[in-house]
């Protein structure tokens, strides 16, 4: 079958759905979107050639409806399904059902997905493949058994959900007293997020860096690694900034990590794109953490430094084509950084922010790539993940990339919701970040990055607001009535009083 006559259904939403649709379009393939009623107007729906309704907003009734997605794919004559990340991307039953329906699943087989998707089993395979792993327990223990195990490895420990990722269910526990409550909370979160209460604990490697290796494997036994990504800038185990290459990794270490990642993937019979996550301690020892058996949020930084379009390669691999790259073809050129843009208020404990996008200006120009689900008029709701866009920059070296990121963040304008852009702006000004001196504890150790700060343009803001208020006053005959008629008089009072106390 000619590739250009193929039709791909993208079983996802948001920026990643648009990313995959673009790749299909550039391959000349026809595209199908699916959507919940909350997403009727979403970019991915408008971008695809065809679009079909899945159901109401809750994921369980829409984007997690395996049966309905496969039914739509068959009805509209799709040849393949791309799951994106999240939702059904790491669901072995979905992968199997798609294949059994006579469609191509753009991702790994259900077997290797099941094997590597469960964190505990993945640790076993990694161990067999010769990868260093961190001491930890299995996920079938009771809370009491886990507490007992913790005594054998010593505190601090890390609590993790056996299923899924994205930091959900993860917790650091520093003493025996806190462990039972943490286990309960983690089981609650894991059940809510993945429908699976299974958790386990590992010894905590403190001040570690989170560094991961991207791999690509075809159906013919070829597998390459596309360098590493540095993902240590995290808040509550959620990545905020990723870059490639890592300022901590040299050529020898890259080769060593890449080769064990490929060995592990081969042992698992893994096919398609995948990522081996490692924790790296201060002495450059690296430990296998888990494998993500899907496309990663942060894949663009690897694309920018290697020149490989990972999504297009995923599609080619799924249709049985051979990898176009040998290991010696993969060379990292320049430096790329990604900043995840979330609808969260960095000045208020990163609380999710909702609202209608009133105005949007995305950065552009040299070395800037934006992957976004945003548009003017969009309703940002609480139904789905607060990550609404990604800003990725590419520069000749890390310093250039940071300066470019700084420039692009200054151009980014999102009105109608609060975003974490001010957090990123503070981060790029931080000397330790600029110097590459950070680990996964960086944000916890630098809480000022998430506090209100005194930006340099208060005076400008004062002048601008005063002129606008003055104009409004001139226009209106009567401006302010009595005191207390404004709905937020309390807030205003509180703010002014806060000042006086300084």
């Amino acid at each position: 079958m000619k590739e250009s006559s193929r039709k791909i259904l993208v079983a996802n939403r948001g920026e990643i759905a648009v990313r995959v649709l673009r790749a299909c379009q550039e391959l000349g393939m026809r595209t199908v979107a699916v959507y919940s009623t909350a997403d009727r107007n979403a970019l991915h729906v408008r971008y695809a050639d065809e679009a079909y309704l899945l159901g109401p907003p809750p994921s369980a009734e829409s984007y997690l409806r395996k049966d309905k997605i496969i039914e739509i794919a068959k009805a509209c004559g799709a040849d393949a399904i791309h799951p994106g990340y999240g939702f059904l991307a790491e669901n072995p039953e979905f992968s199997r059902a798609v294949t059994e329906a006579g469609l191509v699943f753009i991702g790994p087989s259900p077997e290797s997905m099941r094997m590597m998707g469960n964190k505990v089993e993945a640790r076993r395979i990694a161990d067999e493949a010769g990868m260093p792993i961190i001491p930890g327990c299995s996920s079938d223990l009771t809370n009491d058994e886990i507490v007992a195990f913790a005594e054998t490895i010593g505190y601090p420990v890390m609590v993790k959900a056996a299923a899924g990722g994205g930091g959900k269910g993860m917790r650091v526990v520093r003493d025996a007293e806190s462990l039972p409550a943490a286990l309960d909370a983690a089981r609650r979160e894991s059940t809510a997020a993945f429908g699976d209460p299974a958790i386990f604990i590992e010894k905590l490697v403190e001040n570690g860096r989170h560094i991961e290796i991207q791999i690509l494997a075809d159906q013919h036994g070829n597998c390459v690694y596309l360098g590493e990504r540095e993902c240590s800038i995290q808040r509550r185990h959620q990545k905020l900034v990723e870059e490639s290459p890592s300022p901590f990794v040299d050529e020898a270490m890259r080769k060593q990590m890449g080769e064990v990642a490929v060995a592990g993937a081969k042992r698992a019979g893994y096919v398609n794109a995948g990522t081996m996550e490692f924790l790296v301690d201060r002495d450059r020892n690296f430990y296998f953490l888990e494998m993500n058996t899907r496309l990663q949020v942060e894949h663009p930084v690897t694309e920018l430094v290697t020149g490989v379009d990972i999504v297009k390669e995923q599609i080619r691999i799924a249709f049985g084509r051979r990898l176009r790259y040998k290991q010696e073809d993969i060379k990292l050129k320049g430096h790329a950084i990604e900043a995840r843009i979330t609808a969260e208020d960095p000045y208020n404990n990163f609380l999710p922010s909702i609202g209608t996008i009133a105005s949007l200006t995305e950065p552009t120009g040299p070395g800037v790539r934006v992957e976004s689900a945003l548009y003017e008029g969009m309703e940002v709701t609480l139904h789905y993940d607060p990550m609404v866009a990604k800003l990725i920059v590419h520069g000749t070296n890390r310093a250039n990339a940071i300066m470019r990121l700084r420039r692009a963040l200054g151009e980014y304008r999102i009105l109608g919701i609060k975003s974490n852009i001010p957090f990123h702006q503070r981060l790029v000004e931080n000397w330790n970040f600029q110097a590459g001196n950070f680990d996964t504890g960086f944000l916890a150790a630098n809480p000022d990055l998430m506090d209100d700060w005194v930006p340099s343009k208060r005076r400008t803001a004062a002048i601008a607001a005063t002129i606008l208020a003055h104009r409004r006053r001139q226009q209106a005959l009567v401006m302010v009535g009595g005191v207390g008629d404004s709905p937020s008089q309390w807030k205003i009072e509180g703010r002014r009083r806060a000042v006086r106390r300084n």
């Binding site: 959900k168 909370a185 979160e189 809510a192 997020a193 208020n348 404990n349 990163f350 609380l351 999710p352 922010s353 909702i354 009133a358 105005s359 609480l382 789905y384 607060p386 963040l409 151009e411 980014y412 304008r413 609060k418 852009i421 001010p422 702006q425 005194v454 930006p455 343009k457 208060r458 005076r459 400008t460 803001a461 004062a462 002048i463 601008a464 607001a465 005063t466 002129i467 606008l468 208020a469 003055h470 006053r473 401006m479 302010v480 009595g482 005191v483 404004s486 709905p487 937020s488 008089q489 309390w490 807030k491 205003i492 009072e493 509180g494 703010r495 002014r496 009083r497 000042v499 300084n502």
Partner: protein, 177 residues
Amino acid sequence: MSTKYSTYVDGEEFAIAVNKDGSVAIDGETVSVDMLHIANNVIYSMIAEGRSSEVYASLEDGAWRILLDGQRYEVIVEDERTKQIKSLQRAAGGATGDTLVKAPMPGLVIKVLVEVGEHIAVNAPLLILEAMKMENEIRAPREGIVKEIRVEAGKTVELQQPLLILGDPEAEKQGDS
């Protein structure tokens, strides 16, 4: 003649006079300002003494939200008269020192971490709200005394629903004395 304003940016006060010729005097210094509307009701371009700024501005709940270089500022502009009335009212006493903490998003209250009468510091955790399948801590926007708690664990709350009221610790002391 000029019109005088007291302008508070995230708390910091500026004394600003807008002159008839459009120029502005800020803390005594005169600045020529050229401010034009661009588009979308909120986008302005301001050139003040040669310094160029792209300004996104909107008036919400009596405060100007100003976005400059991607940074957000909350600005309250008061003219002389408003200021006088408020200062009179304050002198006469009143519950102006209370802060109403509202839900920043809809969600499920997992746990309330404070009690009525408790004296809490700024940024102290008040309660845990689950939304987007994550547990989020709601923290105190200021120092204060918990005067009233309007929610309890296990209840869902709507966006902007009042959660609790923080009273002014000094006012409380005065009330007690």
